[in-house]
Amino acid sequence: MAKKKETKLDFGSKWDYSAAPESAGHAEIKKEYGLYINGKFVKAEGGKKFASTSPSSEKHIAYFAEASNKDVDKAVKAARKAYNEVWGPMAPKERAKYIFRIARLMQERAREFAVLESIDGGKPIRESRDVDVPIAANHFFYYAGWADKLEYAFPGKTAKPVGVSGQIIPWNFPLLMAAWKIAPALACGNTVVLKPAETTPLTAMKLAELIHDSGLPAGVVNIVTGAGATGAAIVNHPDVDKVAFTGSTGVGKIIQKAIAGTNKTATLELGGKAANIIFDDAPTDQAVEGIINGIFFNQGHVCCAGSRLFVQENVKDIVIKKLKDRLSTLIVGDPMDKNTDVGAINSKEQLATINKYLKIGVEEGAEIYQPNCTLPKKGNWCKPTLFLEASQSHRIVQEEIFGPVLTVQTFRTIDEVIDKANNTPFGLSAGVWTDKGSKIFNLTTKLRAGIVWANTFNKFDPTSPFGGYKESGYGREGGLQGLSAYVKLN
C-alpha cells in the first residue's frame, strides 16, 4: 500500500477571538468576611483570619475568618438550638418554602455568583455561568419540594431528621457542593454547619448572605471558614449527628476512622479514576468531545473526571489524531474571558501536585503530548496533557491526579477493558462509547462505579444520584436516593 500523505489541519491565528471579559462590576466583594453563626456575621475568636487569592491573577481577594474549635462549638450549638426549637418542629411545607426561596434568590443573583466563583476558584466563567450556579440553584429547587413528601420516599417507614449535620466541602465546585449538601439536609429537617475549602470560601460566604436575606431562621445554616483544623473540629464535635464530606480519599478515611467510636453517620464522596472507554463502533467525533469534557472540564479538578482513556486498538490512530486536533482548539487562560475553555489551576499546591505527576509520567516512559498554547505569565496554569502509551502499572494511571491530565491506554476485547476499568480501588464513575445498545448495557452493569455515562460524560442533575463504589466513598447525593443520608428511618 502506498504511504498516505500526512494530513494536518492548521488551527492557527487567521481569525483569533478578541478578548471577551465578563464584567465583574456588579459583583461586590467585601474586604473581610466573618463567620455566619446563628444568623449573624461574626469575627472568629481572637480575630484570626486568612486571605484568599485569585489563582489566575494572583491578586488578593478578601480576608476570611479562621474558625477555631470555640467558633465551631458556637456554630454547632446554634444549629442544635435551631434544630430543637425552630427547624425540627416546623411544618414540612413551611420548610419547603424557605428552600424554594433560597433557590429563587440564587437564580436572581446567578451572574454575580458565577463571576465570584471564577475569580476565587479559577474556573472558566462559561462553566460557572452554565453549570455550577444553575445546577446549584436547581438543587435547592429540587429538594425544596421533597420536604413535605418524605413519607412517599421511604415506603413502610417514618423518616425523621438526623439532627445537626456537619458538612465539609472541597474547592473544585465550591457553590455547587454547598448546595448538594445543604439542600437535602434542610429538606429533611436537619440543621447545618458547613465549612467551605480554604482556597475557595468566597461564594460560600455569599451564599451565607443570600441565606440571611432569605429570612431563614437563625442557626439553621451556619457557615464557618477555615482549613483542616476547622474541619476536624466539626467532625469531632460531640454534638454533630452526621458528617457529610466531599474531598480526597485520604481525608475521607481519616474522617471514617475519627468517627468510628461515635454514633455519627457519614456520607463520603471521595476520589476517582474513571475509565472512559471508546469502542470502534462509537460515534467518534462525539466520543472525542466526551473525552475532552471528561478530563478538561474544570481543569480536571473533578472527582468523576474521565482520567483513564481506553481506546479500542483498531481505532486508536484516528481517535488520538482527533484528540490532538481538538486539544489545539482549547483556549487556556483568563477564567473571566467568556471564550476560555480551561482556566487556572486552583492553587499553587495543586499545581505542584500535577507537575509532580507530569514528571512521574515522563519518567515512567509514557509519551507526553501537550498542545502548543501560550499560558499567561501570572497565575497557576497547566497545559491540557495527554499521556500516550500508558499502561495499567503506571502510577499516572493508578493515582488520582486531579488535573487536566489524561492517560491513554488501548484494549482489544470487551473482557479486557472491563477488567482493566475495574482494576482500581476507586469506583466513582465510568464512560462507555458505542453505538450498540446491548454492548452498552453489558458494560454499564459490569463496571463497578456509581455513575456510568454512556455516549455522554460529566453530566449532572439534581434528580440524578451521585456517589461511588469502593474507595470512592459511600452514600449518594442528589435525587431520591440522596435523601437517605439525612433521615433516620423508624
Binding site: 454499564t444 456509581g450 454512556a454 442533575d461 470512592s472 431520591l480 436516593q481
Partner: protein, 290 residues
Amino acid sequence: MSRLEVQKTYKIYIGGKFPRTESGRFYPVKLKDGTITNICLGSRKDARNAVVAARNAFEGWSSRAAFNRSQILYRIAEMLEGRKAQFIEELMAVGDSKASATKELEASIDRCVYFAGWCDKYTQLFGSINPVASSHFNFSVQEPTGVVTIIAPESPSLLGLVSSIMPVIAGGNTCVVLASENSPHVAVTFAEVLNSSDVPGGVVNIITGKEDELVEHFSSHMDVNATIYCRNKHLNLIKENASLNVKRVSDWSDKDWYRDGDDPYLLLETQEVKTTWHPIENIAGAKSGY
C-alpha cells in the same frame, strides 16, 4: 447388642466445600447431655480463604437473574423445612426448649421465604427513573456492594444467622459469616442445607471460631466491601478498620430478629446505587418525555 451411633464431625464451609480449619485447631462445646463436640477453631487463613471464595463467586451470583436468586432462596426454605427435626434437635442439644427451638426454626424458614420474595422486587421499589433536565435517559438501580463479612449474632444462633445472611445474598452479594460461638452446630448444618439447595459454592461461607480472634481480619481485609456486625463488643474496632478501604459498616447489634428481620431496608444496606445516563435522540425538535 445396641448399635453405636455415628456422630457428626462439624466442619467449616468454604467455597462449597467442607474442609477442616487449616489451622487444625478446635474448641470444645459441651452439649446439654454432657457430650463434648469439637468445633473448628477458624483461623485468619480460613477467613482469607473464605474471602477468596466469596470474591470468586461474586460475579456469577450477582449476575444471576433476580428471579433465579429468588428461586434458590426459596429452595433454602424448602430444604430447611425438610430438615426441621434435625435443626430442632440441634437447638435443643445446646439447651433450647422444644417450643423455643421450633419457634426459631419456623421463623428462620419464614425469613428465607421473605427475602426470596424480595430478590426480584427491591430494585423496582427503590430504583428510579430520574427526570433530568437534559435530553438524557437516566435511571438509578441498586447493585450488590460485593463481598460482605458478617459477624452473626451469638443468639438466636439459627435465626440470627439466617436473618443476617438472607438480605445480603438476596441482593446478589457473597459473604463470609462467623457463626455463633457457643451454638455453632446449626450453622454447620445450615451450610449443608445451602450446599444442597443450588446456592453456588462460595456465595455463603461459614466459619466457626472466636470473635476476638477473627474480628480483626473480617474488618481489615482489603478485598471485603462491607461488614455487618450483630454483636456488641467490637463495633468501634470494626468501624476503625473499615476506614482502611472505606468499607460500609452495618451495626445490627440491637436487632430483635423475631421482630426486626422482615425489612427490605436491611437488604439496601449492602447495595450500591448505580446511575446510568444515555442521550435521547430528538429528531425534528421533538423533545424527550422522561
